[in-house]
Structure formats: C-alpha cells, structure tokens
C-alpha cells in the first residue's frame, strides 16, 4: 500500500521539455552563414578569442565520424571553456577579447572540419580542491542525434595534468580516455592547432558524458 505522504519525486516537479534532434537544417537557426542566409549584425560563432585575448592563441579542429566511418557533414558543435586563467567568461560580448562560448559546424563541402579560433584554457580547481586539466566542453547536435552528445576536449601536451584530472579518471577504460585528447599539429601563421575527431559509434568511439 502507498504511504499517504508518499509522492514520487517526479510528481513534485515539472518534467523537462523533451529533446528532439536539431535536424538537417540546424544551420538556418544557429549557423546562418553555413545555411547561406544573410548574417545578422551579431552572430554567435567560432571566433572565441580576438587579437587582444590574454593567453596562447590556438585553433581547434576536427571531424565528426559516424558508425560507418563516414563524415557527419551536418553537425553543429557548441564549445564552453575557461579563459587562460581558468575562469569562465560567462557574459557573452562580441566586443570582449575573449568569450567562453562559441559555435562551429561541419560542412557539406571538402574535408568537413569544424574549427574554433580560441585560446588555450587554464586548469580549473573543482569544488573538492582537485584540479581539472585544461579542457573545452563540447556539445554536439545533428540530424540523427536525438539529444545532444556531451564530451570534452583535452590537450596532448598537458599529459601530467591529464593524468591527474578527476573527470578523465572517472572514465573506467584507460584507452577510452584517449578519445578525448586532441593531438597537436603545426598550424598556419605559427598558431598551434589541436585536432580531435569525434567518433559517434564503433571503433574509437568518443566518450560522451551525462551530467
């Protein structure tokens, strides 16, 4: 018999609006240039750091690959990262030298790489005092993806910090941790470039988080 004062938690709260795929034409709404629409005065896009941003300027690039090994050419990614001192700059302002939030997309043509122009984030000290290695939080939306896939990008030249990172260490399988580590390349004009492919399914499948 039910306790008279018992109510399941779900009945005490509203239910979250259900998620749906962003679909094939997500660019119309969130990446106007990619859709071929005229851009508005201010768009939220992939230049997170300007010339005056404090810290090391970097480019972050990658592809998105499906379970057949084919390129996902219609993905939209959202990035959220700390500044070079490990602080989030939440007040989005295109006049500011750095914004913690950015968007990018893979495209129908060519190599279909997404790109972020940003700075290398600093380490972040978590509530419990443990230090998280520098990382960029990424959310992936696309046709066929019913609710966004949430992951993190880490940097291969931060090996010591990565070894200690509580979030990387929460991944039970050590080989799977490697799916989050971006590899360093020499980029154009002396700007270091980090590359991370996101594999949605199968061999080398990227770790996705629930939080």
């Amino acid at each position: 018999m039910e306790q008279p004062n018992f109510k399941p938690t779900a009945e005490l709260m509203l239910r979250e609006t259900a998620s749906q795929t962003a679909g094939p034409y997500v660019h119309i709404g969130l990446a106007l240039d990619v859709a071929g629409l005229p851009e508005r005065d201010e768009e939220i896009w992939n230049r997170m750091a300007g010339e005056d941003a404090e810290g090391e300027r970097i480019e972050v690039v990658g592809r998105v690959i499906d379970g057949n090994g084919d390129l996902v050419r219609d993905a939209l990614l959202e990035a959220w990262q700390a500044d070079s001192r490990g602080n989030y700059q939440a007040g989005f302002d295109l006049k500011a030298p750095f914004n913690s939030f950015g968007r990018t997309a893979t495209t129908a043509a060519g190599d279909s790489e997404w790109v972020l122009h940003t700075i290398k984030p600093g380490s972040i000290t978590a509530e419990d005092g443990r230090v998280m290695a520098p990382h960029i939080t990424l959310s992936l939306f696309a046709r066929g993806v019913n609710i966004q896939l949430q992951t993190r990008l880490y940097f291969e030249d931060e090996a010591a910090a990565n070894d200690q990172c509580p979030v990387l260490n929460a991944i039970e399988s050590p080989p799977r941790r490697q799916t989050l580590i971006a590899r360093k390349e020499s980029g154009e004009a002396g700007i270091p470039r980090y590359r991370l492919d996101i594999v949605l399914q199968g061999d080398g499948e990227t770790v996705f988080f629930d939080y």
Partner: protein, 241 residues
C-alpha cells in the same frame, strides 16, 4: 545569476534514446557505449553563457519582417501566428534573460537552406530564423508564419508534422535544450518517426504548442503558446567541505 550547485538529473528514459531505429539516421549516429556520468558536476557543467550583451536587431524575433525580397519587398505568405511562451525550470521558477532561438520551414514546408531541394517553392519574403531573450518573468515571443509539413527520406512516404525548432540555453550548459514544437491537433504527430523516438506519450505532450485564442490578435494573427521547462536548479545544503 548565482551558479547552482547541481541540476535535477536528466531523466533519459523521458528524453528520446540515442538509438531509435524507426528514425534511420540515429542508427549510425548513436553511441554504443554507455554515457559516463559525472558524479560531481563542476563549474564547467554548472555555468553557461549569458547573452544579455548580444546585440539583437529590431526584427530578430519577427519573422514576418526580418527577411525581405529586395526586388519587391512584401509580407510572407501563410498563416500569421504569434508564438510565445514561458521558460521555467522544473520547480516552476521563471528563467529570465535566457536566449531562445528558433528556425523553421516556410508555409509550404521548404527551408531556406542550400541542402533543401523539396519542390515546394521558397517564399521570397521569408527566411525562417528568429531569436530573443526571455523577459524578467521568463516570457519569450516571436511572430511568424505557421510552417508546412514536408516529406523526408526515412520511410517510403514519411512526412514531418508542421514544427518549429526551438533552442533554449537556460542558466547553464547543463540545461541546454533543443526541441521541436508541434501544433496541437496535427494528425501527422503520432505517425512521425522523430516524435516516436520518445517512448512516453506524456513526454510527447511537452512538445505540443496550444492554440491560445485569448492571446490572438483579432483580424491579424492567431497565437500559439509553447512553454519550455528546463532542468531544475538546486542549491546543496550540505557539502563535504
């Protein structure tokens, strides 16, 4: 905005699963491995962007006005509607000053996107994109044209119900949500493979906008109300430190 310590856990049986084979594209685009749960979400998950300084244009939330045929400007063709609603969290608390974005097809079901080759024509006065911030009490509003249904290659004869894609940020990246608003009474809703990715018919109800005659404008536009609920923000009473 104070940073919450935690958000109510997402009920992933309420949301659609990644693998939902009736929606064919989800088959190769769904992870095989379990999600890794972060037991102690950090500032990286509990914070998010605040768009109050994003400069919006005067017609960013008015799709009747924000795309014009330069040769012969006019109004778009179709059912004029007001789309409005409130963003609240799971405890019913309004979410003010949050970014709501939307995009949609035109009255004939055609998207203004290089990849859409459906034979229904583009409307020279319709772009299909809008954005706004919720006000102090969590309300948002758009003015637009009711989108048409359209066919898509899933089954042999599969059609999307009329829908508007709606994107909301909420207070953190943990509350980030993209959904689709469907129109109450549309008989295509129950037979849509994308709607059917949800297992719970009550969850489907959270995606259905309702006709609101009281908010309609006589001799001008019908109103549809679509409230959005994002994850509830919790303060933690007892911490380890």
């Amino acid at each position: 905005m104070t940073t919450p310590r935690r958000f109510v856990e997402r009920d992933r049986n309420w949301h659609p699963p990644a693998y939902a084979p009736g929606y064919k594209t989800s088959i190769p685009r769904s992870p095989n491995q379990a999600l890794v749960s972060l037991q102690n979400p950090s500032i990286s998950e509990l914070s998010g962007p605040d768009f109050r300084k994003l400069r919006m244009g005067p017609h960013d939330n008015d799709l009747l006005m924000n795309f014009r045929d330069e040769a012969s400007p006019g109004l778009p063709v179709g059912e004029r509607i007001i789309l409005f609603g409130r963003v609240v969290d799971q405890f019913g608390k309004p979410v003010p000053h949050t970014l709501v974005e939307m995009w949609q097809a035109n009255a004939g079901g055609r998207y203004r996107h290089g990849k859409d080759r459906y034979l229904a024509p583009l409307d020279p006065n319709f772009g299909g994109v809008g954005r706004c911030l919720t006000d102090d009490d969590g309300w948002y509003r758009f003015r637009t044209i009711k989108p048409g249904p359209y066919p898509w290659p899933n089954g042999i004869n599969t059609w999307r119900p009329a829908h508007i894609h709606v994107s909301v940020m909420g207070p953190a990246i943990s509350t980030r949500l993209i959904t689709q608003m469907y129109f109450e009474g549309d008989p295509l809703i129950p037979i849509c493979p994308i709607v059917q990715t949800l297992k719970d018919s009550e969850a489907v109800q959270t995606m259905i906008g309702r006709l609101d005659m009281a908010r309609s404008r006589p001799m001008d536009a019908l109103a549809w109300r679509f409230d959005l609920v994002v994850r509830g923000a919790l303060q933690t009473y007892f911490e380890n430190q």
